[in-house]
Symmetry: C2
Subunit: 248 residues, 2 copies
């Protein structure tokens, strides 16, 4: 197996870090890796905010309920960014551009491309012996986060990436059976047996790991979270406010 597959297969999210800041070389390598990801129409529709201000880190850690934000060696925030393209465009065509940039399709494409860049950053960090964890919890700090980071219309934060020297060595979390994820030519909606198999496997994982042991499985955990009433309409309002999803 080559070194790249080795790094990818060894992935674990690291949530505890040693108090060692990243070097400029490490930060540069991570940002360069993100920039090298492909993107649709070469749009490069993402931006990265490196958060170094201690008060800002503290606010984000508190609002996202995520201690690693304040304790890592460097904290990145990955944003979908279609503002840059708007800024590059002919002022006479701003109305048409806004309509397209704000559409479901273009915004979704920007999110997908931001994901490609984010994973390049993650893999680059891991390849240098660093640990990392993605922090979706930054969305809890919306819409204030926009103001803190000075994000204009058509730029929205998607996910944080906390990187640092690992201070823990957790077990690897099992993945869904391949048969539930990979299909040849046609999707197979009969997923029950594969999900049951995975539930048993992950119950064993949660029940036997060294830290944070508990009785839980995949279906139960996701049903508990996604089966409750969530304030999802707030987020829709937020993205509309940023210029997205205005097209009916």
């Amino acid at each position: 197996m080559n070194d790249v597959l080795q790094v990818i297969r060894s992935h674990r999210s690291i949530r505890k870090f040693k108090p060692v800041p990243l070097t400029n070389e490490q930060i540069d390598a991570i940002v360069e890796a993100a920039q090298m990801a492909p993107s649709s129409m070469h749009m490069q529709p993402f931006s990265i905010i490196g958060v170094t201000d201690s008060k800002l880190l503290e606010n984000i850690a508190k609002r996202s309920n995520n201690p690693p934000v304040g304790e890592c060696g460097y904290f990145f925030i990955f944003c979908a960014d279609l503002y840059r393209i708007l800024a590059a465009g002919d002022p006479a065509r701003q109305a048409a551009m806004k309509r397209n940039l704000g559409s479901t399709y273009v915004f979704q494409t920007a999110v997908l491309c931001a994901g490609l860049a984010l994973q390049n950053a993650n893999v680059a960090a891991e390849s240098m012996g660093l640990g990392a964890v993605m922090i979706g919890g930054i969305n809890e700090a919306l819409p204030d986060l926009d103001e803190w980071l000075g994000l204009p219309e058509f730029v929205i934060p998607l996910c944080g990436l906390a990187v640092g020297v690992p201070g823990e060595s957790p077990e690897q979390k099992p993945r869904l059976p391949r048969s539930a994820v990979f299909f040849e030519n046609r999707y197979n909606p009969s997923l029950k047996a594969a999900i049951d198999e995975f539930d048993r496997q992950i119950e064993t994982y949660y029940g036997s790991r060294l830290f944070n042991r508990r009785k839980a499985n995949w279906s139960g955990k996701l049903t508990a979270i996604l089966g409750q009433k969530l304030p999802v309409d707030m987020y829709t309002k937020y993205v509309r406010h940023k210029g997205f999803y205005l097209v009916e």
Copy 2:
């Protein structure tokens, strides 16, 4: 520089392939890499369809106007998949789950996570000496593609990944200047100088590369595409039909 950074920094999209099919070991390594990507709440909200049926490949290549689809060593389609979670959930809570799974926030999270998996697959392929290109053009085949692949509600195709033994060795496409993409603590909306610099750089690239030489720059190309009237409402209708964005 380590091998992983080397592979990431050497990225080029490959659109011409030698007529050599991928081995099962290569396909397995790519799918395993995709599955190892992290995901929000361990949702693993994506599916991969490997397209091997020659008639299906031909239809997708034609509709997406992308010859590499039919000429590569293996063609993957990455989908956002929240159906699997719905199938795993308690039948008594389907209504609440559907509302949440179909929300802007959860769907956007699924797209981002699918991007992480897709880039792991891309990097894994490149690490094995294969070439790859992402094919956003598969969206041109919607909604028929859903029927061809048997995709249920809450599963939508996002992007293809054509992989194979490289039959070309293109120049590397320049990226935006770092100053236009990476910010410390605060976004800087004064992007004009950086975009102008990039336009000059990419004009040189387009004008001097060996194949497909032309006079074009980044701003001009994107304004031409995104400044015209596009049928973006069709896509919004499509995703709503699949169960998404129904929450106001």
